[in-house]
């Protein structure tokens, strides 16, 4: 490959030079030797040889030229010239570089998020083998698996290397001065094996530790090890303290191992042979499996389906209705973020396209303005190729500078992303690394070709250049091409703005919804407790009641309650209920969302009572409340006094309905209230949320409440303290991020369209100055001149808008799942967008048009 060799040689000049010198000095040495052999003295021989060889440097130069590719030398020269030419046009250069930086920077920032969240493999060995397992039941979604069933699956399948499960709870570690809240994961057998990690210090759990009644031990996270034990290499054997028990540390896990989630600091075995783990009905493991190498998801699914079918025959009562669900672990981790990220990526890609169109239009103007220079080049014998190369070199310099600036912008963008979307999975992994730099460079290359090729070919049109030689007034087709490009920009801007508009409208609508409860002035928090404590339910209820009473007694607190799920935040717990009083077969099954709350819940949240009475704690009787939708959907008469039970759930026995309350949007502000039942029952299990309605700013009560809990429960920690309104708003983080970012992209798109239109009309005004001067000299009204240019701009804008509307109608349906209270074809939004773009276009066209009308005819005509 002689061609490649030469390209390569450009890059290693020094080496080449050295080799050549070596080769020639060898020649010289041989020559001298020969001359000496012929009888010459040494000095004479050297002199003669040198004389014969002549000017060595010149040979080296000439020989070197043979080794180096001409094209590359030309390219380098072109680049140098391009730098010089661009430095002379700072306004043009700055506009183009800024436009490209915006387009590429936004694109790189979003790409970095896509890479980190969606594309990058999970940080475990062979992550594609990992799947999440769940048992599903036609009646309800259950994300958890019964330990005994998981053990069966693990024993009977043929497609998995191993299966394991876990659950987490918030623990209060009390060996320090104050109780510290830590997240502790309880893991089934084979946990580390399945995840494919080993402790960096110490050891895995022993079989004895994984048995019920065996010693309790913990593995700790690298983070906790550094923070709490100062990276002590002898940490194994030290203890952490929970309540009255001291638990020895057996090892430290690697720093990059953050599973089940980043906040977990402790892992302990969860014995699956504990007596309560034998029930086939109680589910609490989140189950993970590692498939055997080469096994596909479909094979694993059918294998596990067969296993579960077998269990169904063996245990018809509990297992017949259950099927096994398998999803890739990556999908369950990041799948929720996909649609938002894809929409954002689509939007920034449109933005990049607009930026390219803009730059192309600017380059066209420049190429036309340089026709004379190009004509001179042609007449001096430049080939068409060399002129194109010259123009492309300029574009290349522009886009590389744009890419460099874009990286700075992307860095800022990434930071904004992390703060806007704190709840996005793996969001802390979003960083700019070499991949993103590479991606930006590829974008820049694409931009070079997309923006530069057309103007370069046009600019190097010999006929156009020829026409430039004679006269300075040119009416080139370039003007038309620029207007087409500007029209495209306008239509893309309309599309983006329509998308952003729809999201903004959704957010507005969401704000207007009355949720059916009053989240203002409610503080939420949690108090650490363990699953172990739930074995004595009565003690738990007493503890929770005591805590609630203590808080209730604080001045500034109006009402208190507990709930398992915060209202207004997406969560599902669907249950099927049986009406004890009997129900006709023909009537629909009673399916409802179930919530466990304390009786103060309705008063604390301001949910009004519609019928019956608010439940109280009644000795020996379990009571419940239902919402209006539930009462209306399933019963013709008032359901108050009826008894409902949940088959197969021993923890929630038969309960009597004491009253009906108004509908509240428990499942999320954006979701219609579903039929809901409330068990009046404060379980106090881990994950229970405490609510306190306050007189004033709820934040002001967080310290008094913390202190009050510490007084009566000194061994527990209070955590996750935040106003309910903030909690709900955080749950809509992704929604807001999407809206803000898309809004930003749309604004940038409109700005670019403005620059494009303004630039093109200005250019047109410049080119036609003489014509305008002539018209004015012949008595044309200045307003007519304004009208002429303005109508040209508005025509382009109008055409762009109609194109944009068509495009928007085609594309906004991708948003439909993210909209709330507004249709994807919302005429009001679309009209608003068109009006906004037309106003901007008018301003963009008006300014240069007015400048055109200010032309002094005499000056322009005299210039000739």
């Amino acid at each position: 490959m002689a061609w490649l060799d030469r390209v390569w040689n450009v890059l290693r000049r020094a080496r080449l030079q050295r080799d050549l010198n070596r080769e020639l000095s060898f020649h010289l040495t041989e020559k001298i030797e020969e001359l000496e052999a012929g009888g010459m003295s040494q000095s004479e021989a050297v002199r003669t040889a040198r004389l014969q060889l002549g000017n060595v440097t010149k040979y080296v130069e000439r020989t070197r030229e043979m080794d180096i590719h001409r094209l590359l030398e030309n390219t380098l020269r072109n680049l140098r010239q391009a730098f010089r030419a661009l430095a002379k046009a700072p306004g043009f250069t700055a506009t183009v570089v800024a436009t490209l930086a915006l387009g590429i920077g936004a694109n790189s920032a979003v790409f970095s998020a896509i890479w980190a969240v969606l594309l990058r493999p999970l940080p475990f060995p062979e992550p594609d083998q990992l799947v999440q397992l769940a048992q599903s039941n036609p009646k309800m979604k259950a994300p958890f698996v019964a330990p005994v069933r998981l053990a069966d699956w693990n024993r009977l399948n043929t497609t998995f290397q191993s299966m394991t499960g876990y659950y987490t709870e918030e623990a209060s570690e009390i060996s320090g001065e104050l109780p510290e809240r830590l997240t502790r994961a309880f893991v089934a057998r084979r946990f580390l094996e399945t995840m494919g990690v080993a402790p960096v210090l110490g050891r895995d759990f022993t079989p004895a530790e994984e048995h019920f009644g065996g010693p309790t031990v913990v593995l700790i996270s690298d983070r906790y090890w550094r923070r709490r034990f100062n990276s002590d290499p002898n940490v194994t054997g030290k203890t952490v303290r929970f309540g009255k028990t001291f638990v020895p540390i057996v090892g430290v896990l690697p720093a990059n191992f953050q599973f089940p989630r980043p906040g977990v600091d402790l892992w302990s075995p969860s014995p699956d042979d504990a007596p309560f783990a034998h029930s086939r009905e109680l589910t609490w493991y989140t189950a993970i499996g590692r498939m055997k190498p080469g096994v596909t998801l479909a094979q694993a699914r059918s294998n596990l389906a067969a296993v579960q079918a077998g269990l169904g025959r063996e245990f018809p009562k509990t297992d017949a209705q259950i099927s096994a669900a398998i999803e890739p672990l990556k999908e369950t981790t990041v799948g929720s973020a996909r649609s938002s990220l894809v929409i954002l990526f689509g939007s920034v890609s449109l933005l990049l396209l607009i930026a390219c169109t803009n730059v192309a239009a600017l380059l066209l103007s420049r190429a036309t303005a340089r026709q004379q220079e190009i004509a001179v080049r042609f007449s001096l014998g430049a080939s068409r190729g060399s002129v194109i190369g010259h123009v492309l070199a300029e574009v290349f310099v522009l886009s590389i500078s744009g890419a460099a600036l874009a990286l700075l912008l992307a860095e800022a963008g990434v930071r904004a992303f992390r703060s806007l979307a704190a709840n996005l999975p793996r969001v802390t992994d979003i960083v700019l690394d070499w991949r993103i730099v590479l991606y930006s460079l590829v974008c820049a290359l694409f931009a070079t070709l997309a923006c530069g090729l057309f103007p370069a070919i046009r600019g190097a049109d010999r006929d156009l250049a020829d026409s430039a030689r004679g006269t300075r007034t040119i009416f080139s087709g370039g003007g038309r091409a620029q207007f087409v490009l500007v029209g495209v920009q306008v239509s893309l801007a309309v599309t983006l703005l329509a998308g952003a508009g729809l999201l903004v409208r959704s957010l507005q609508q969401l704000g207007r919804v009355s949720p059916g409860f009053q989240p203002e002035r409610v503080l939420t928090f949690q108090v650490s407790s363990s699953w172990g404590e739930t074995s004595d339910m009565r003690a738990e209820r007493r503890r929770v009641d005591r805590t609630l009473e203590r808080i209730q007694a604080l001045p500034g607190v109006e009402a208190t309650a507990t709930t398992m799920d915060l209202p207004g935040i997406a969560s599902d717990y669907q249950v099927e209920l049986m009406v004890e009083e009997g129900r006709a077969e023909t009537e629909p099954k009673v399916i409802a969302e179930g919530r466990a709350i304390s009786p103060g819940y309705f008063a604390t949240l301001g949910i009004p009572l519609l019928a019956g009475e608010v439940c109280r704690e009644e000795p020996g009787i379990y009571t419940m409340m239902v919402n209006r939708t539930f009462a209306n959907r399933y019963f013709r008469a008032s359901p108050v006094g009826l008894h409902l039970s949940q088959p197969n759930n021993m923890y929630l026995p038969k309960s009597v309905i004491r009253g009906v309350v108004a509908d509240a949007r428990e499942l999320g502000i954006h979701r219609e209230p579903a039929p809901t039942v409330y068990w009046c029952f404060s379980p106090g299990q881990p994950g229970t949320h405490y609510l306190a309605r306050t007189h004033g700013d709820p934040r002001a009560m967080s310290e008094p409440i913390r202190r009050a809990v510490h007084e009566i429960e000194p061994l527990r920690s209070v955590f996750d303290v935040a106003p309910l309104a903030d909690q709900i708003s955080d749950a809509y983080d992704e929604n807001r991020m999407r809206t803000i970012l898309l809004g930003f992209f749309a604004a940038a798109a409109v700005l670019l369209a403005y620059v494009g239109l303004y630039g093109t009309i200005s250019y047109s005004v410049n080119v036609r100055q003489r014509e305008v001067g002539l018209k004015l000299a012949l008595g044309a009204m200045r307003t007519r001149i304004v009208g002429q240019f303005l109508s040209q701009g508005l025509l382009v804008a109008a055409l762009g808008c109609s194109g944009g509307i068509v495009l928007a109608l085609a594309l906004t349906r991708f948003l439909s799942g993210m909209l709330f209270g507004v249709s994807a074809k919302d005429p009001m939004t679309l009209t608003g967008v068109v009006i906004a773009v037309l106003v901007v276009s008018t301003i963009a066209s008006l300014l240069p048009s007015i400048r055109a009308s200010r032309v002094e005819p005499i000056e322009v005509l005299r210039e000739e």
């Binding site: 020559k31 014969q52 040979y59």
Partner: protein
């Protein structure tokens, strides 16, 4: 007698012919070989030889590699590639046609004045 400088364009032919033996030769050896064979009638100018060698290498007619001479000196040795052999055939062909033509013209009758 004045040594003949090599006619432009024939240097490539001479180098190809010299290397056709299949031996690997360095630049100095090629020069000496041409001078010897032509009984010192032809003199190779170093100023043209090395650019020519490097160009031929880039064309893919020659292969070059560093080696050591009998006197243990480092030198760049050139050898003919298959492509170079084809090129030699072509150049020989066109050279003989040229000399043939020139010879005919020289032998032909003088134009009357």
């Amino acid at each position: 007698m004045r040594k003949n400088d090599i006619l432009k364009g024939t240097l490539v032919l001479l180098v190809l012919r010299t290397l056709a033996s299949g031996r690997k030769m360095h630049g100095y050896a090629i020069t000496s070989h041409i001078q010897q064979i032509s009984d010192l009638l032809l003199r190779v100018e170093e100023g043209s030889l090395y650019p020519a060698l490097h160009r031929m290498e880039q064309e893919g007619w020659l292969r070059a590699e560093w080696g050591t001479t009998e006197k243990k000196r480092d030198a760049r040795f050139y050898s003919l590639t298959a492509k170079g052999r084809k090129q030699l055939a072509e150049e020989q062909e066109s050279w003989s046609r040229l000399t043939e033509g020139v010879a005919r013209v020289l032998r032909g009758p003088m134009e009357a004045k």
